[in-house]
């Protein structure tokens, strides 16, 4: 890990930009190069499968995940956050399958509960302020271990897309048709939801609980305005996420703003451009 990392630092330092001279910016750049395409790719399925509210709930559930970490005395709350996000994913998918509650009502209930529980635990003793950095995120705190972990996630997401994408797509288009061709999507959907929960949770400390979902949704929503088929949809979403990530990172450096929110504004700008293009191209 150290050799490629020092090569990365040397290479980026050679760029003729002021920001490239700072180690924390070079690490943040590396993280953006991993996180943006990951979120952009996952976002295509989130948007197509109408899971935006689910991913929002997973992000907000981080409050309880952090609180559990504090109670358990973990030095890094990431593990309790991931564990809790997975428990929640299974709970929501069980509620959906069991029926009775519509999906958004089920998710809304779960989200209200976990956010409140997390805030109650964390605010005990009036100490909530020390957790506010999770709300807006801190892109400049990325460590080499984080990058290694991101690489592992990237491989997992690529594998998931490779093995499950087609049955997810067919099942999104027509569940009945998918079942008739023995493309059962139950396991694929659960695997996707779990991986989505893990990626969102891992990216939270950098992007921020308040804006992470936008970064998942916006690139795919913008790509939808441009794409004529699935490959274009996927390619545009990743490209838009990358461009927004780079613009947001650099602008946030010069404007001294929170990186996550700045990236989201850049993505929003791109989304508006695609919307205009779509409006004018269809007359």
């Amino acid at each position: 890990m150290t050799a490629p990392l020092s090569f990365w630092h040397d290479a980026v330092s050679a760029l003729p930009f002021e920001w490239a001279g700072y180690e924390f910016m070079r690490m943040a750049l590396l993280a953006v190069l991993f996180v943006s395409p990951l979120l952009g790719a996952l976002g295509t399925v989130v948007v197509a499968n109408r899971m935006a509210f689910f991913s929002e709930a997973i992000g907000h559930a981080a409050f309880t995940g952090i609180a559990l970490g504090v109670i358990l005395g973990l030095s890094n709350p990431l593990w309790s956050m991931i564990g809790f996000a997975l428990v929640l994913t299974f709970a929501i998918s069980w509620m959906r399958r069991r029926g009775g509650l519509s999906s958004d009502t089920a998710i809304g209930l779960v989200m209200a509960f976990t956010v409140s529980l997390g805030i109650v635990i964390l605010s005990r003793g009036g100490d909530f302020a020390s957790y506010t950095n999770f709300l807006i995120g801190d892109m400049l705190s990325v460590s080499p271990a984080d990058i290694a972990w991101l690489a592992v996630l990237a491989v997992a997401v690529a594998a998931m897309f490779f093995f499950f994408f087609n049955r997810l797509l067919l099942s999104i288009l027509s569940p009945a048709l998918a079942r008739s061709r023995a493309k059962h999507a139950g396991a694929a959907e659960l695997a996707f939801a779990c991986l989505l929960a893990v990626v969102v949770t891992c990216a939270l400390p950098w992007i921020g609980i308040l804006v992470i979902n936008a970064l998942l949704i916006l690139p795919a929503a913008a790509a939808r305005n441009l794409a004529r088929n699935t490959a274009e949809f996927f390619g545009w979403a990743i490209a838009i996420a990358l461009v927004a990530g780079l613009i947001g990172l650099v602008v946030s450096f010069y404007a001294s703003t929170a990186t996550g929110a700045t990236i989201v504004l850049a993505a929003m700008g791109i989304y508006l451009v695609t919307m205009l293009r779509r409006t004018f191209s269809t007359g």
């Binding site: 999104i172 288009l173 009945a176 048709l177 088929n229 699935t230």
Partner: protein, 258 residues
């Protein structure tokens, strides 16, 4: 029910001799939801080359019957498929044309993507291989829809989408073709064309067709057999007989017609 791999060359494009012997048998099929019988004691034979139409009021169990045939839900009784040599393969190829209202029309998905998602191993988000494109074209040609291959699914008219879905259901060529209300939202001339195409294809490829529909007038001309379902089979036979049955005439308010 385990279906064979999607790329299995199930008598691809070649019409087997018309045997009239392979047949799908449902015997004593019943389904309950929350203890309430939705389907009871259904005995049904589907012969290859024959178009069987299932009619019935809303909630009479027509879609449940389709689900039993597709192996989607647990049920009492037996569903068997016998091939021409009277062997009992576990896995007939079933082609299925879903109700088109169930289709997500907003997704940026082309007709080719739809085929790729059903047939290919390579994920459609990485593009579609020339081989799968060729396979999709073959399927679409059977229904005269090859010009639609690169269109977005959401931009197709009801009739166009039905031809695409039928082309997909014929790839690979099935032993049984199941259509659930295929013509909702399609205009009259579109229906006629679709049923004519279906009749031609079933003679050409000799598969059994099970069609669920409300479209009595058109069905009377195209179906070989008609089954009137009201949680159980009330009557069945040639369309002209079934449509004369008083119970059918009452259910569909056919009093004024002769």
């Amino acid at each position: 029910m385990e279906l064979p791999p999607d790329n299995a060359p199930a008598h691809h494009g070649v019409a087997p001799h018309r045997c009239g012997e392979c047949c799908t048998t449902m015997r004593g099929v019943g389904v309950r939801y929350n203890g309430k019988p939705v389907l009871q004691d259904v005995d049904l034979h589907l012969h290859c080359g024959e178009l069987t139409a299932v009619i019935g009021e809303n909630g009479a169990g027509k879609t449940t019957l389709v689900k039993c045939l597709l192996g989607e839900i647990p049920h009492d009784g037996e569903v068997h498929f016998l091939d021409a040599s009277h062997r009992r393969p576990d896995s007939p190829v079933i082609g299925y044309v879903p109700q088109h209202s169930s289709f997500d029309k907003d997704a940026p998905v082309s007709v080719l993507d739809l085929f790729a998602a059903s047939l290919a191993t390579r994920p459609a988000c990485l593009g579609v291989s020339p081989a799968v494109r060729e396979e999709a074209l073959t399927g679409l040609r059977r229904t005269g829809a090859e010009a639609l291959i690169d269109r977005r699914v959401g931009t197709l008219s009801g009739g166009e989408l039905q031809r695409v879905l039928l082309g997909l259901a014929l790839t690979p060529v099935p032993n049984i073709l199941v259509l659930d209300e295929p013509m909702s939202g399609v205009d009259h001339s579109g229906r006629e064309q679709f049923y004519e195409l279906l009749s031609k294809l079933r003679r050409e490829y000799d598969f059994a067709v099970l069609l669920v529909s409300h479209d009595l007038a058109t069905l009377a001309r195209f179906a070989d057999r008609m089954v009137f379902l009201d949680h159980r089979i009330v009557c069945e036979g040639a369309p002209s007989e079934v449509l004369r049955d008083p119970r059918v005439r009452e259910a569909f308010s056919l009093h004024s017609l002769t």
